[in-house]
Subunit: 428 residues, 2 copies
């Protein structure tokens, strides 16, 4: 393309909408677009958010034309006076807005198919920038626009993700491919059971062998770490693929069982698949996690195949009545104790008839902590055929973070036990 | 300030960091800054994200200087080669970077206080832009910088929110106040029990009376709508306050009991406060919501005061065993039925000894739907002293959205019942 070198590789995104400058809205279209551009091996150089203000919008577009060859703009295509994107781009390009009867018809039909009448203001959406190709919007009234010249490509997209995503997937990416795409190899390792610094130390030796075109990104949150590998395939694809696999497997080997998924799956999905494959049933008895464990397990479609039931025994009374935790034990050891965690899991397993049962009991805070039993102290237990296991944890963070870490630990105990059981059956 | 009129009111934010251009990271500092600026009655005109690239960074800063009087920049102040913000701003301003021994000392002490040794690369963080005021960073090694001239104010802030927020709160806002702040009145109404278009129609008559300086923002998500009111107080504060209250109360009156909070509280908090105030105890029996109801209730600190226990009776067996749902009823009506929902709530109330009990049973999908009982069909029930109540709901959305709407409906049934009980006791 006949663009100055410094511009050639610049790609930028402009999100239009005053609400995106308020404290209440996060602009998320750019994440989706960055991901899609990555599939072509491309990266964003700039992201800009600008309000529904004609002058500022024109400034942003004019600037983008000076520095980037590909400009994606989302929002401001609606029917109201606030929606100025078409006008701003037209003025910057010195192009006219021309009325398009076909678009108006589509909009009218859209309303009628819903038994509604089109509002006069929708007429505004039927004006297109001279020379633009219209991108159909089956999910809304605002069509997209594709403006291509020797110097640049400008793409106007609707703001709502439900309209933008299909348009990008079906109409924009196919058109962009002709500008040359790059293949990208990807892997997402998910890890729990160790802190970020420990993980860093374990994989540090791998860093020095990372080739230029392989990017390693670590995302850390309490009790859950993600390592994303991305490699842009160059002139020697086979060699790159080998390298990618070698690096990936080295990291997996160095982290061992800490890695619970190599396909970016959630821990509840992984555990669910293992339970289903082994034909085992699960039940859980929660105190401090207060239902989050059952909630995570049942977020997985099809979980009713292996998840029988959960109890949230928040009060001591319910621990006694529902789970038969002896009153003496509660009095002697307290609800937050290794012994109570164990009885909860064992009795839950027995009464539910499940093969495996999990339990949690602890202090999620902010109140209720003591020097002996501080906020964050959580016992997680697993009852399995022929035994039970309890782990004492001391978690940091706020109430919801502590609840999450408790469920993460319980699910991971289950995962490791299921792996052990798989091995045993394989030996047989 | 001696800046051209078109610049005077422009405020912009630049987030620095290549990761913020990837599909995996959301830039959130701008939300916090927008909120803080709002406290001064100010608004952002532009947000820009730029990578760790010296040339692009310089472009972004140079452009910002042309159009804005206040420029907030976060990120790129770290110790590594990637961290280029100081250098970029210095080059744009034509200023030198000067070494600051005091900063180096602070960094060294910070390391030593943790029993660590400072790395040589931290030396880079001790260089400050000539003429800049240093903003202390007690939560990290990167100090902030304040650059003030007749033409503009440029503020360099650390990227991590845990470092940026206290610096803005303690050092930046106080310094900005001298540029004149505006008082802003705020209210956040939270609403459930009706769709967005219904709410719109109800409050439409209020729109035409909205004064210029009062902004109304509606945030809609399935089963939860938020209306935010923000009014910039002008030259007649008393008059503005009266107007604000009048508008707010008109909206509240027009929506009636659909409004569950006027202080932006969550539904589980509101219900929790009412239960606590009335000294009533709650239990819940969940099928399709799978623990989410208990989880939401127990996310509220102190919920153990009124929440006794929850059951997640996912399988028919557990519905029979735990809740005594008759096998014949399950066979005749099916687990997803008004009758089963009612029995679940009533028996839960009885066995737990709670004053009130909620239940949910339905089809969260994606599988398991039939023409007679489609995905999204959910019965929510409430058992109370002297009776019970069941509502048949048909929710749209994915599995997690349907689970959320089920819990939202159940909590709202409880809220309305508690209001009714409050009224009765008041009458007595």
């Amino acid at each position: 393309m006949g663009t100055p070198k410094r511009k050639r590789h610049r790609i930028e995104f402009i999100a239009v909408g005053s609400e995106l400058l308020s404290p209440h809205f996060l602009e998320t279209n750019s994440l989706y677009l960055a991901e899609k551009l990555q599939e072509l091996g491309w990266r964003l150089s700039f992201k800009t958010v600008v309000g529904d203000n004609l002058e500022e919008l024109k400034e942003a577009v004019g600037l983008a034309r000076q520095r980037s060859w590909l400009i994606l703009i989302s929002g401001g295509l609606g029917p109201t006076e606030d929606d100025r994107t078409r006008q701003a781009v037209a003025e910057v390009l010195g192009a006219r807005l021309v009325f398009n009867q076909a678009i108006l018809e589509k909009i009218r039909q859209r309303f009628e198919s819903r038994g509604l009448r089109m509002t006069p203001s929708n007429r505004r959406q039927a004006y297109v920038i001279e020379g633009a190709e219209v991108l159909d919007n089956p999910h809304g009234t605002a069509p997209g626009l594709w403006l291509e010249s020797r110097k640049e490509v400008i793409i106007l997209l609707p703001g709502p993700p439900s309209e933008l995503k299909p348009m990008v997937e079906n109409l924009v990416l196919p058109r962009l491919k002709k500008y040359g795409q790059v293949r990208v190899l990807r892997a997402s390792l998910r890890i729990t059971g160790a802190g970020e610094s420990f993980i860093e130390d374990r994989i540090k030796p791998v860093y020095k062998d990372l080739p230029e075109n392989l990017q390693l990104i670590t995302l850390a949150s309490p009790a859950d770490i993600q390592i994303r590998l991305e490699m842009t395939v160059g002139s020697q694809p086979e060699k790159d693929e080998k390298t990618f696999e070698r690096i990936k497997n080295r990291i997996i080997r160095r982290l061992g069982p800490l890695v619970y998924s190599v396909e970016g799956r959630s821990l509840e999905e992984v555990v669910g698949q293992k339970l289903k494959a082994a034909g085992l049933k699960l039940a859980c008895a929660e105190s401090c996690s207060g239902g989050l464990l059952a909630n995570r397990l049942t977020n997985v479609p099809g979980s009713s195949d292996y998840f029988l039931e959960g109890l949230v025994t928040y009060s001591n009374q319910s621990k006694m009545r529902e789970l038969g935790v002896p009153e003496e034990l509660l009095a002697a050891k307290g609800a937050v104790s290794e012994e109570v965690a164990r009885v909860m899991a064992e009795n839950m397993r027995e009464k539910s008839g499940a093969d495996l049962a999990l339990s949690t009991t602890g202090i999620a805070g902010p109140g209720g902590g003591t020097p002996a039993k501080p906020v964050g102290l959580v016992y997680t237990a697993l009852a399995f055929p022929g035994g039970s296991l309890v782990i004492r944890n001391l978690f940091r963070g706020n109430r919801e973070q502590i609840k999450f870490q408790a469920t993460q630990k319980a699910l991971d105990m289950l995962r490791l036990k299921l792996i052990e059981m798989e091995k045993k059956t394989q030996l047989k």
